[in-house]
C-alpha cells in the first residue's frame, strides 16, 4: 500500500490544478496509524472556497487508496504564506503561464505601513521572459492571483500575489 503521505501529497489544488497541495504549501501534516489517517491543511485565505474541495479530494484519494478512517483538519496558525510554495510548485506555475510570487519573508510585528506608491513589482512575463509587465487588476479569477499584461509580447497573464 502506498503511504498516506504519498497519497495526500499527490492531490491537486482545485483552483491551480497544475500544483499539488503539498507544492502549494497548504498540506501541513499527515499522520498515519494502522488504517487511520489524520491530514492537516491550512487555508490560503480566510474565505477560500476551495478548502472544502481540498478536504473532499483528500478524503476521496485516501479512501480510494484503502484508508478507511480519514480525518482532515484545518489549522489557521501560523498563517499560510506564498513563501511556502515549493520550488517545483513555482516552476510548474511558470510552465503553465502563471507568474509565481516573489519571496516576501516574515511580516514584521506592529502596524502595517501604508505605501501609496509601492515599488514597482518586477514580475517577468511567464511566456517571453520580458521584465516589461504592467498590473491590470489586483484581483483576478481567484483571490490569490492578480492580472498582468506583458508590454513586449502583449499577452495577459496571471500572477500569484505575494501574501
Amino acid at each position: 500500500m502506498v503511504t498516506a503521505r504519498a497519497v495526500a501529497e499527490g492531490v491537486l489544488d482545485p483552483e491551480l490544478p497544475v500544483l499539488t497541495l503539498a507544492e502549494l504549501g497548504v498540506l501541513r501534516e499527515v499522520i498515519e496509524s494502522d488504517d487511520r489517517v489524520v491530514v492537516t491543511i491550512t487555508p490560503t485565505y480566510s474565505g477560500c472556497p476551495a478548502i472544502e474541495e481540498m478536504r473532499r479530494d483528500l478524503r476521496t484519494a485516501l479512501t480510494e487508496a484503502g484508508y478507511r478512517d480519514v480525518e482532515v483538519r484545518t489549522v489557521l496558525a501560523p498563517a499560510w504564506t506564498t513563501d511556502w510554495i515549493s520550488e517545483s510548485g513555482r516552476r510548474k506555475l511558470l510552465e503553465h503561464g502563471i507568474a509565481p510570487p516573489a519571496r516576501v519573508g516574515p511580516r514584521p510585528a506592529g502596524p502595517v505601513p501604508l505605501n501609496l506608491v509601492p515599488p514597482p513589482a518586477r514580475v517577468p512575463c511567464p511566456r517571453c521572459g520580458s521584465a516589461e509587465t504592467t498590473e491590470l487588476s489586483r484581483f483576478s479569477a481567484t483571490a490569490c492571483k492578480a492580472l498582468r499584461r506583458c508590454e513586449s509580447c502583449r499577452e495577459p497573464f496571471e500572477h500569484v500575489k505575494e501574501l
Binding site: 485565505y45 484545518t74 510585528a109
Partner: protein, 298 residues
C-alpha cells in the same frame, strides 16, 4: 472533481456534495483549530466580542456583494467580490468561535441567519446603504472601505497578540487580507479625487456620507474593556488610523471632513444592537431564503 458543464456540477448528487439553501453545507470552519479557552476569560464578553468583529465582517461582506455585476468595470466587480469573500471568511471563523464559546448550541449559520436586528453587534458604519442604487454610489463604498479596512487592520495587527488562540489566528490571517483591502480603497480614493471635477465631487460627498459613523469605531465598549489581553481597546487606535487616513487625504488633496458623529440612540450604538433602519432591509434580503426554507438543501 471536474465537470463538463455547470449543470452537471449542480446536479451532482454525490454524497456530501450538498447544495445549500440554508447555510454553507460546509464542515465546521474551526475543525482542528486550537480552541482552548484562555483561563479566567469571561465567557459572555468573549462571545460578544467575537460577535462584534464577526458581524462587522458579515454585514460589510453582504454590502460589498451587492455590487456584484454592478461595479463600474469588470475588474472592480471581481475585486469587490473578492474583498467580500475575505470578510465572509473572517465572519465564518468569528461567528463559529462566538457560538462555541457561548456554548448554547448556536453555530455560524444560526447566528448569521436566525438573529434579528437588535441582536447584531456590528458598528453602524458597515450597514448603511452606500449603493449600488439610490442609497449611495461607488465613491461612498470606497470611502467606507477605506475607513473600515484602516480601522480593522489596526485592530487585527494588535489582535495577533490576543490570549485567545482563535482570535489570534484569525487576526494573523486577516492582517494580510485587510492590508490589501486598505490598499485597494486608497488607490481608488486617489483615482477618484484626482480624476475629473465630477469624480472628485463624488469622492468628497462619499466621505461626507460615511464620516458621521467613523467615531463609533473608536468608542470603547464595555465588552472590549472587560477583556484585557484578549480584545483590543479601539480608543487607542485613533492616532494610528488618523495618520493613515491623513496620508491618503494628503496625497489625494482631500480634507478630513468636519462632520459631527451620528448620536447614539438612548446611549446605545450598533455595538449594543441599536441600528439604523438600513440593517433590517439588509437582513431581510440576506436571511430570506434561510428563514423561508429552514434547513433546506438540495
Amino acid at each position: 472533481m471536474s465537470f463538463d458543464n455547470a449543470y452537471e456540477a449542480i446536479n451532482d448528487g454525490a454524497g456530501e456534495d450538498a447544495h445549500w439553501a440554508f447555510g454553507t453545507g460546509f464542515d465546521d470552519p474551526l475543525a482542528g483549530v486550537d480552541r482552548a479557552l484562555p483561563a479566567g476569560v469571561p465567557v459572555a464578553e468573549l462571545t460578544a466580542y467575537c460577535l462584534m468583529l464577526g458581524d462587522d465582517a458579515l454585514v460589510l461582506s453582504q454590502r460589498l456583494a451587492e455590487w456584484c455585476s454592478r461595479a463600474p468595470e469588470l475588474e472592480e466587480d471581481v475585486a469587490l467580490a473578492n474583498i467580500a469573500l475575505d470578510l465572509l471568511g473572517q465572519a465564518r471563523l468569528l461567528l463559529s468561535r462566538a457560538g462555541e464559546v457561548e456554548g448554547a448550541g448556536r453555530d455560524e449559520d444560526t447566528l448569521a441567519y436566525l438573529r434579528d436586528e437588535h441582536e447584531f453587534r456590528n458598528v453602524r458604519l458597515v450597514e448603511i446603504d452606500c449603493g449600488p442604487g439610490p442609497g449611495g454610489d461607488f465613491a461612498s463604498t470606497i470611502a467606507r472601505l477605506l475607513v473600515f479596512s484602516s480601522w480593522r487592520l489596526a485592530v487585527f495587527s494588535r489582535l495577533v497578540e490576543s490570549a485567545d488562540p482563535v482570535l489570534s489566528a484569525v487576526a494573523a490571517k486577516g492582517v494580510k487580507e485587510l492590508a490589501y483591502h486598505r490598499d485597494h480603497a486608497a488607490q481608488w480614493t486617489l483615482r477618484l479625487a484626482g480624476g475629473t471635477e465630477y469624480s472628485r465631487e463624488r469622492m468628497v460627498a462619499g466621505l461626507a456620507r460615511v464620516w458621521p459613523l467613523v467615531g463609533e469605531l473608536f468608542d470603547p465598549h464595555p465588552v472590549e474593556l472587560a477583556l484585557p489581553g484578549v480584545a483590543v481597546d479601539p480608543s487607542l487606535l485613533r492616532p494610528e488610523v488618523d495618520q493613515v487616513l491623513d496620508t491618503v487625504f494628503g496625497a489625494a488633496g482631500l480634507h478630513r471632513p468636519e462632520i459631527a458623529p451620528l448620536s447614539p440612540v438612548a446611549g446605545r450604538t450598533g455595538r449594543d444592537g441599536a441600528h439604523t433602519e438600513a440593517l433590517g432591509y439588509l437582513l431581510a434580503e440576506m436571511q430570506y431564503l434561510a428563514r423561508s426554507l429552514p434547513g433546506a438543501s438540495w
